[in-house]
């Protein structure tokens, strides 16, 4: 399932912050569609085309403006009407401002200067290419009323279905259990009644001949006992061995992290390259946990997730927006002022991949030199909602890979000579890491 942030614009998300959804995708879509229809009729009254305005807005303005939130520039919902009502500025002024704001500022226009000062004296980019129609389209888009808050009924028909399903299941199960119970009771009662009849009529119920219980027979048969105990011993040995071998191997270790960070959304849905955040994997032995300023490269502009994403979060029982707020708190980002406060509190992640100190592992050797995909060792990270340890990270696991993997020697002048000589010596086309010396103790233990 791929979601893009375009959806953000479909239904402004601000109003959906505190709403709890249950399987709402379809209803939201439906609602959005209805809303869109209603708005399109109302908007037709104006001279702009809000649909075209929207695409223009996304292309030209969205980098700095949002409709309902301050970003680099002010929020633009109803900007034209507001300006007219509050400042008495008309479309003419807006056109000038949009096409060349700095000229207005230079000319000393009081409101222009005020805005300029309010936003850290950063002048807005000039858009001289926008036609009057374009501007009115954009303004038409901004004039659209915010989508009515999608108030979800506490017990909507669609939403309720799920709960009813589960309750009905248990009711059916309960009823069945009751039925069986009643049946059993009936049988007992029938039996008792029959017995009483028999007693009353003096019928002797023949007593079955006592047979040796099976366990006694088993105990008496020493051969069977021997075989069974051997089998049992072997089996328990097998399980004990299996248990002991996983001691200290934290495969599948999936600790609760201070911030619920979803690799699924970042690496999966948004297809962000692993090494965008874990950049030191290219040059260093450590892949590095990204510092928070790396997060802020994107999250400066992404304070909230798309509703669909949000809804998915509910499935995992997590409020993604609250998690982003955790990031802001840690990095000291004041969303209102769009500025860093300088008050930081580093995030204490729980380390998942713990190699012992005596084992040396170098990411850059594997990532940059060998050209391995991160997934080779870390598994399908792009599908992991919460990161877990995919591989066992035992020495046997390392060694096996070194035995099987060919060294990537192509276009690497370092390997040219040694590969030529070694492949001749071993009589192979391709050398494995092991043949290159990758099994020597001292290569990893020092």
């Amino acid at each position: 399932m791929k979601k893009s942030y375009q959806i953000l614009e479909d239904n402004s998300i601000t109003h959906m912050k505190h709403v709890i959804y249950r399987n709402l995708t379809s209803s939201i879509l439906r609602l959005g569609f209805i809303l869109l229809l209603t708005f399109s009729t109302t908007i037709l009254a104006q001279d702009g085309d809000p649909a075209n305005g929207k695409s223009l807005f996304n292309a030209q303005c969205a980098a700095c403006h949002k409709l309902d939130r301050k970003m680099t520039g002010p929020a633009l919902r109803n900007v034209e009407a507001r300006l007219y009502e509050e400042e008495g500025l008309d479309r003419e002024w807006l056109n000038k401002w949009i096409r060349n704001s700095s000229a207005l500022i230079k000319a000393g226009d009081p409101y222009a200067v005020k805005i300029w000062n309010e936003y850290n004296q950063t002048a807005m980019n000039a858009f001289p290419t926008l036609s009057d129609q374009d501007i009115s389209d954009i303004l038409a888009y901004t004039a659209e009323p915010p989508p009515a808050p999608v108030v979800v009924d506490e017990n909507p028909i669609g939403g309720g279905a799920g709960t009813t399903d589960s309750t009905s299941n248990s009711i059916i199960l309960g009823a069945l259990a009751l039925l069986f119970g009643l049946l059993a009771l009936a049988l007992v009662l029938v039996n008792r009644t029959l017995k009483r009849f028999a007693d009353a009529k003096g019928i002797e119920v023949p007593v079955e001949e006592q047979r040796i219980p099976i366990w006694k027979a088993f105990v008496k048969n020493q051969f069977l006992v021997l075989v069974t105990s051997i089998v049992l011993l072997l089996a328990s040995g097998y399980f004990v061995y299996g248990y002991l071998m996983q001691v200290g191997v934290d495969q599948g270790y999936e600790p609760v992290q201070p911030i619920h960070y979803s690799h699924r959304i970042h690496a999966g849905d948004n297809k962000i390259d692993c090494k965008y955040c874990h950049s030191s994997a290219r040059v260093s032995k450590h892949s590095g946990i990204p510092s928070l300023n790396v997060c802020m490269n994107c999250h400066k502009n992404i304070a909230q997730v798309a509703p669909e994403t949000y809804a998915e979060g509910q499935e995992y029982g997590v409020d993604y927006n609250a998690e982003i707020q955790k990031l802001y708190k840690a990095v000291g980002w004041d969303e209102e002022a769009q500025a860093y406060t300088g008050e930081t509190s580093p995030v204490k992640w729980i380390r998942i991949h713990n190699l012992p100190d005596f084992a040396y592992f170098n990411h850059s050797q594997h990532v940059s030199v060998a050209g391995l995909e991160c997934q080779t060792c870390h598994g399908p990270v792009e599908e992991m909602e919460i990161m877990y340890q995919y591989s066992s990270l035992t020495m046997g696991w390392c060694i096996n890979c070194h035995r099987e993997t060919n060294v990537k020697v192509k276009d690497n002048a370092y390997y040219t000579k040694i590969h030529e000589q070694l492949s001749k010596k071993y009589g192979v086309e391709q050398l494995t890491a092991a043949q290159m010396g990758g099994l020597e103790c001292g290569k990893c233990h020092y």
């Binding site: 300023n293 940059s368 030199v369 070694l422």
Partner: protein, 1025 residues
């Protein structure tokens, strides 16, 4: 001839009846291991209530409990940066060029930092003139992480804020009235600091700046000033000298600031049949004397006369006085060699006497020595004895209103510390100090000073040769450097780094880039090197007055004491540095101590003894040493071969009492004997009761009777005879045919193919190695080698991966003695030569031999390891997998070179070993790429595999081949003398491959057939018959 010399490591070995030496040659342990003690005898075993079954139950239970407890892994937190600095990539080291200038050591260095914390000091190769990092500079990084540092400014014992400090001190300065403000500082040699002090004087007036060097070179400065008009030291470039005569100058040690060894070592490698010749006249056995071709032991008083005589023999001027005949002969010989060498000769002296220093300047001028440089003077010693003495007197007289001390510890280093203490009470005192030491604890204010790795600064080490100091870490504590406070005092709001930048742009850089200079750490000015020195009396012919005065001042009576500095400890400001405390002195091989060195004859006369006790530890008598009524009590005595009869030596730097951990409070303080800043004193010695236990590694791991671990020859034989004669490959008999041990037929093992890929070799040139020990400390720092402490050292449990063995040898072997006896001509020389033969330890020859794991291709350790914890790599390294090691120590037993070290204890995070690995601060110095070993694990030199692997990986990442010189070990990188060269011998063009083909090349104990990957170069001595 190399093979039939007799080598010995300790005086004990010369004693033919020594049972200890005898035993050590046969056995690993001197005593039977007292197995009964821990196993128990039968009787106690039977009476014990714990039966074998009980024991097994306990074992079973504890194993089960331990394994259950181990099931749950610990939760490890990872905390990334909030905002990651651009230049930091976790796991990648950054290097910064900076400069150490602590008043005693001055050197341009490169600092390796990991994740923003400095972890190692390396040589700055761009600094060609500023000396290489010696052992102390290499160890200085530990001072940064010293847990006893002052954490912030203090008033007496109460912490105050810097604002309070500044206002209060300013008030002090404004209230001094007609009294003086005095700065008593270390030598800064800093242009910016001088300027700042000048500005301060302008602001406050009545300011005096006194430079004070704990170990004074005042006499040399005075002599140079009188002759050349500048208070500085003449520079010597020993790479231009073919004949070096030194009278009491330890120029390979700390003489006149040190740093001469790089140039010296260059000429010690025989090339085209030539090498320099070095004659040393001295009383203590110094590092320099140990390296000399001819060493003449003589008392300090005789040295004065010898220098005067040398002057007279060279220049022809007449000088009175008479030397003993054999000494006179030696001086005459030296003079004639000097004259023959002409401008290729040079004379230096360490005698602290203006006349002596003048005489040396005059001789060098008379020779017009090429090595002698009066233009590029050395500026790192500026202390003035008279000014310091005057200051103490003024303080006592109450003339000093405020005293600001920076980088000095006069309460410890002044001979008249009590006078100083008295004066200190009559003034307001401010000490800029990193420690609450002897001085700062007696001051009104302690201004917490940063370590040099946290400071800005500039130094003009030599005239025109500038160096910059830059911080490599944000100050760990609330510290401010003196210059920053000076700026505050003068109400200057500039930051000191900007101030330096301005000063440099204004008067030093001459248009060059400041950023480049900061990047390089050094800047050589081309313009103003020559202008400043104006010769005052250059034309005046040497009169010989100085020499005559020198000769007449030479009076000898009784025992003479020569105070000296040890390679490891210097002036003692780094006494709280466990690396340096544990560093065995290159000569005595004794750590954690200073001691009175005395000759065997004098010791016998005074009834003083050294003896080795059963565990190999050395014990020595104690004496009280008295100079002019000042007595230092209970000084341990160490009998030093080569010590001039009638003289004793004692080193500075020990006996500190404050600002250091209890374990480091070792030795005795020699400074009270340093009266009038004269290191030579008449002394009386009385035996005291008791014995001192040394931590001397001398008798540990003896030669086991294998004397040919050293090969040496003379220049004459080297030049004239075939290699077979002086560096023969040992032979063994195969089918009654003598076959060299290197041939495959006599090899027990199959040879692996090592021709593909890298094959690392380390070359060690015994000629270039001066024994300075920088490599030992560098290895310590690089490889997280633990410090074990004095008692463990004494038990021969030292952990040094790299040791520098010091071997003594008498003039020749016993065969040589015979030869010599037959060649004696006339009666004159016979007496002395018979005398020498009688007592080999009177003036032995010395060889230094760095020994680390030899990385044998046929390693004896590998075959005996029951768990295959040690294995061989294709690249020639002998690997040690700590996590596999179970600690049988078979490998150490089977190692013929005794280079394996066993972790008898857990040395980190263990209160029993509170050195540096036991506190969070000290552990910051650990190298994150090297495992910190645990108890019960064998360890050894790894050929710095973490460094070779990194070099390979860098090349792989760049997709290129490794260039020669890129492969380095910590020791080879630290060796400033070019004695150690590391590299890939499969790269035929590499330096090390060429060195391996050299005629002087040999392997240690070649006949054992271990095929080591470390090879040595036969020592060649430039001795004359």
């Amino acid at each position: 001839m190399s093979s039939n010399k007799k080598y010995w490591k300790s005086v004990e070995e010369l004693n033919e009846n020594s049972s200890i030496v005898e035993t050590l040659q046969q056995n690993e342990f001197v005593e039977q291991i007292p197995t009964d003690e821990f196993l128990g005898d039968k009787e106690t075993l039977e009476s014990s209530s714990t039966s074998r079954r009980d024991f097994l139950k306990y074992v079973g239970f504890s194993t089960a409990a331990a394994s259950l407890a181990a099931c749950e892994g610990p939760v490890v937190k990872s905390i990334p940066y909030v905002v990651q600095p651009k230049e930091i990539v976790p796991g990648v080291a950054n290097y910064y060029a900076t400069t150490i200038a602590d008043g005693y050591d001055f050197a341009s260095v490169l600092v390796k930092t990991r994740e923003g914390r400095p972890i190692k000091i390396e040589n700055n190769d761009l600094a060609k003139t500023n000396g290489h990092a010696n052992a102390r500079v290499n160890a200085s990084i530990l001072g940064l992480y010293d847990s006893l540092r002052v954490k912030g400014p203090m008033k007496g014992d109460t912490p105050i804020s810097w604002d309070t400090f500044n206002t209060e001190t300013k008030e002090v300065f404004s209230k001094v009235g007609d009294k003086e403000i005095v700065f008593l500082t270390q030598t800064f040699a800093s242009p910016s600091t001088s300027k700042l002090v000048g500005e301060f004087s302008e602001t406050y007036g009545n300011v005096r700046h006194v430079s004070y060097d704990a170990i004074s070179e005042s006499a040399a400065l005075d002599a140079f000033q009188a002759k050349y008009g500048k208070r500085a030291l003449a520079n010597y470039d020993f790479s231009k000298a073919m004949t070096i005569v030194s009278v009491g100058a330890d120029f390979l040690g700390d003489w006149q600031g040190g740093g001469f060894d790089t140039a010296y070592a260059k000429m010690r490698i025989p090339e085209n049949g030539k090498m320099s010749r070095h004659i040393q006249f001295e009383s203590n056995m110094s590092l320099t004397g140990a390296n000399a071709d001819k060493r003449v032991p003589m008392k300090p008083s005789e040295q004065r006369l010898a220098l005067a005589k040398l002057y007279s023999y060279v220049t022809g001027a007449s000088v009175g006085g008479n030397l003993p005949e054999n000494l006179d002969k030696a001086v005459r010989a030296a003079a004639s060699e000097l004259k023959k060498a002409g401008s290729n000769g040079v004379v230096v002296t360490g005698i602290q006497d203006v006349n002596a220093q003048t005489v040396v300047l005059e001789i060098n001028e008379a020779l017009s020595s090429k090595a002698f440089d009066t233009k590029t003077t050395i500026n790192t010693k500026q202390g003035n004895d008279k000014a310091v003495m005057q200051l103490v007197a003024d303080m006592k007289a109450g003339k000093v209103g405020a005293l600001v001390m920076v980088g000095v510890n006069p309460m410890y280093t002044l001979p008249n510390a009590t006078d100083f203490a008295e004066g200190l009470k009559k003034t307001t005192s401010i000490a800029f100090s990193m420690k609450k030491d002897e001085t700062s604890s007696n001051c009104n204010y302690i201004a917490a000073a940063p370590h040099y790795l946290e400071s800005w600064g500039d130094v003009e080490i030599k005239t025109g040769h500038y160096a910059l100091m830059q911080p490599t870490i944000r100050p760990l504590f609330d510290t401010k450097q003196f210059q920053d406070v000076l700026l505050t005092w003068t109400d200057n709001t500039t930051a000191y780094n900007d101030y330096i930048k301005a000063t440099w742009k204004e008067s030093i850089l001459n248009g060059a880039s400041y950023n480049q200079a900061l990047h390089d750490g050094v800047f050589v000015s081309t313009s103003n090197t020559t202008e400043e020195v104006s010769a005052v009396e250059e034309i005046e012919a040497p009169s010989g007055n100085a020499a005559r005065a020198l000769a007449s001042s030479s009076k000898s009576s009784g025992m003479e004491l020569s105070l000296y500095t040890k390679t490891g400890m210097g002036d003692g400001q780094q006494a709280n540095n466990p690396w340096l405390q544990e560093f065995p002195d290159p000569i005595t091989r004794t750590s954690w101590d200073n001691y009175l060195t005395i000759s065997q004859a004098d010791a016998d006369a005074a009834g003083l003894v050294n003896k080795n006790v059963a565990n190999g530890g050395l014990n020595g008598s104690l004496v009280d040493v008295t100079v002019n009524g000042v007595t230092v009590k209970n000084v341990p005595v160490l009998i030093q071969p080569g010590q001039a009869k009638g003289s004793v030596g004692l080193s500075f730097g020990y006996g500190r009492t404050m600002g250091l951990k209890g374990d480091m409070q070792t030795g005795v303080n020699a400074y009270p004997l340093y009266q009038n800043f004269n290191p030579v004193q008449e002394v009386s010695i009385t035996k005291a009761a008791g014995e001192h236990e040394f931590a001397c590694v001398q008798l540990h791991n003896t030669l086991m009777g294998r004397g040919d671990i050293i090969k040496e020859t003379t220049l004459e034989i080297f030049n004239t005879k075939d290699k077979k004669y002086w560096n023969s490959i040992p032979e063994v008999s195969l089918n009654h045919i003598e076959t060299p041990v290197t041939s495959p037929e006599v090899d027990l093992w199959d040879e692996f193919d090592r021709s593909i890929g890298h094959h690392f070799n380390l070359s060690i040139d015994l000629n270039a190695c001066t024994g300075c020990g920088a490599c030992v400390i560098a290895c310590h720092a690089e490889n997280n080698v633990p410090v074990v402490g004095k008692t463990e050292m004494r038990r021969s449990r030292d952990m040094h991966w790299l040791r520098i063995d010091r071997y003594y040898s008498s003039e020749d072997s016993f065969d040589g003695d015979l030869e010599k006896k037959e060649n004696i001509s006339g009666l004159g020389s016979s007496l002395s030569e018979f005398g020498e033969m009688e007592s080999p330890n009177e003036n032995p020859q010395v060889v230094f031999q760095p020994v680390m794991c030899q990385h044998c291709n046929h390693a004896p350790c590998e075959t005996v390891c029951p768990v295959a914890a040690t294995a061989h790599g294709r690249q020639g390294q002998n690997h040690m997998a700590y996590n596999r090691c179970v600690g049988t120590r078979y490998c150490a037993n089977n190692c013929p070179y005794k280079v394996r070290r066993f972790n008898w204890f857990l040395y980190n995070q263990n209160d029993e070993f509170d050195y540096f690995m036991n506190d969070d601060l000290g552990r910051m110095v650990l190298n994150p790429d090297v495992t910190v070993r645990s108890r019960g694990v064998m360890e050894k030199c790894s050929f710095c595999i973490q460094k070779t692997q990194k070099t390979i990986l860098d090349a792989k990442r760049d997709g290129r081949e490794v260039k020669d010189g890129e492969f380095q070990t910590a020791c080879s990188a630290a060796c400033g003398n070019g004695a150690m060269v590391f590299g890939d011998v499969n790269d035929k063009e590499s330096k090390v491959a060429k060195l391996k083909e050299d005629d002087r090349m040999y392997h240690l104990l070649e006949y054992v057939g271990t095929k080591p990957n470390v090879f040595y170069h036969t020592k060649v001595r430039n001795t004359k018959a």
